[in-house]
Symmetry: C2
Subunit: 342 residues, 2 copies
């Protein structure tokens, strides 16, 4: 997608080796947690890497062909929601009451438009509901039965709540209930598995989206960080786009997504430095586990987490692809951070 | 509440005219909107000024006696919730369906602890529910029937939904429905009336809280900025405490509360400068109407709004009291900002 400026320079300076195409970039995550080689079978590893690779590659190619950021975020998250491997859409975790309550959000960096839903139970793809709220409602955040009703009124695909259920999540709830009945507090991976996508499109616009089933055994209409602008999702062309995954309560209190962007905007920090400060200095010290994927207006991508691993993939403005699960994956430096400068 | 350091200096330097007591400060709002002298009767003006004065004075005296910030925020907001004059608790606006769905949040600046409820229908004082979530749940944000259930399990005072109804709000909904049936879009004060309190206590800790009935005619489980950490409420001892009121969707997208604090923390701006930038430069340009009250760790108080008026009151660390409604109220400089430096 060469623009006039690029074409002109290409004519004058055809020996310059770099591309003059507008920078594009994409980064995705499928949740963070106690992901070690011991805890994942080779088959599972292969399946996760395959879908992460497919998702990031398809999204990147859509960006190459000029698709706008909101569409790429939407389509890529749909692909992850439809996979049973992730805690979003089909494959979402179960609440304390044995049902599914799903959350999703989306934000656009060029006009700070945002849409989100919390606690929907019948929308097949919650990210589509967030997109509809962004475009077709005067509101930013709709919740519960009202959000389902709005989604249905927009003609979105609706399903029975059991559509989201998979055997693994039923077993996870049974384990949770057993532990709960023995007085054990939640401590592990039942909190993670959210999916998220951030992109820079050919118009130079950032966009971010996040979708989740929340945490196994959640109750009282608990809302985590995923549908909350500034907590789990944020995008501003003046700084960066972020999607988060992890122990949502910490991500709300620390305003993880918007704080990373605030450090970029107000302190002039590199994206990776800002993300490291928030995830490792602020969150890790407080005991908040999780990670983020983020992209800045130049197409730098950062994937930073303080857990054992994070399902993740990115292609930055230089075309460098990273697909990984574990902290020590190739392309990953120490402390769980992937560097891919544009 | 003189501290040893203060007493020592007082002994050595008894001629110094300033107080050595730890600084305390409080600022409150009761909503922003088209508040002009023409639109308010002398009796209404007297009633609003009286309760604003009572609330800020009682809160200040509690702080003087060493009450912790979370208690002062809680008690002061309860007083405003129990008054029919404000759109919070008794006197809250009605939803599209003719019921009340109430939101509230609280955050503490020393540990970033936070609690919030969205869409509760039976808790007499939603700020008490937010406080209970903060202290007695592993979560930050509970919603809907689950949030009511949690509040009841904590022994909070529960009421029938009709407890919140007042004649003025019934008439407002009727007007809204008439306009809605004629295709008119919401445009005015039906969006405003939220209450909020920020304090600096004798321990040097900031706290913030906000409570609202939302906007007249809201539907689809709409959640505004009031229960959202970073949007309507934020507190961090490293920067400031903020409570917002206004057109919630803008306050979510612009992350008003946390953005003011980010500018203080990362750019070293004075609180008033930061609040002016966000409310006048960012929000007003985007068409987002409303305002904030804010306090910094030195006890400076800022009350800034881009509407015709904001019900407000503050007492800063120097003991200066401001109580006002209109933009041109004594103590107010132009552009709807009250200065009260500590």
């Amino acid at each position: 997608m060469l623009q006039p400026r690029g074409l002109l320079l290409l004519g004058l300076l055809s020996w310059v080796p770099v591309s003059f195409a507008d920078p594009i970039a994409i980064a995705i995550h499928g949740g963070a947690g106690t992901l070690t080689r011991d805890s994942i079978t080779p088959e599972q590893e292969r399946d996760y890497l395959a879908i992460l690779n497919t998702a990031v590659q398809q999204g990147y190619e859509r960006l190459q062909h000029g698709a706008i950021g909101s569409d790429v975020v939407r389509e890529t998250i749909q692909l992850l929601e439809n996979s049973p491997l992730f805690n979003a859409g089909h494959g979402a975790v179960l609440t304390f009451n044995g049902t599914h309550e799903l959350d999703a959000s989306m934000m656009l960096g060029h006009n700070l438009a945002a849409g989100a839903v919390a606690g929907v139970t019948r929308v097949k793809n919650p990210i589509e509901a967030a997109y509809a709220v962004l475009n077709y409602s005067p509101h930013v955040l709709l919740s519960g039965a009202g959000a389902d009703e709005f989604a249905e009124s927009q003609g979105l695909s609706m399903v029975d709540n059991r559509y989201f259920t998979t055997l693994g999540r039923v077993e996870a709830l049974e384990l949770f209930r057993t532990q709960y009945n023995h007085g054990k507090v939640q401590s592990g991976d039942e909190k993670f598995g959210t999916v998220g996508v951030v992109v820079l499109d050919t118009s130079g616009n950032l966009a971010a989206g996040t979708s989740t089933g929340g945490m196994t055994g959640k109750r009282w209409g608990r809302i985590g960080d995923s549908p909350l602008i500034g907590s789990g999702t944020f995008a501003d062309n003046r700084s960066c786009a972020v999607s988060a995954t992890g122990h949502g309560e910490f991500f709300i209190r620390w305003q993880v997504a918007s704080d990373i962007c605030a450090r970029v905007r107000y302190q002039g920090l590199d994206l990776l430095v800002a993300a490291n400060q928030v995830i490792h200095d602020e969150l890790a010290l407080a005991g908040g586990e999780g990670g983020v994927v983020a992209i800045d207006p130049k197409g730098n991508a950062a994937m930073v987490f303080n857990t054992e691993g994070m399902y993740r993939a990115s292609i930055n403005s230089a075309g460098d692809k990273v697909v990984g699960i574990y902290r020590d994956h190739a392309g990953t430096v120490n402390q769980g951070q992937d560097v891919s400068d544009g």
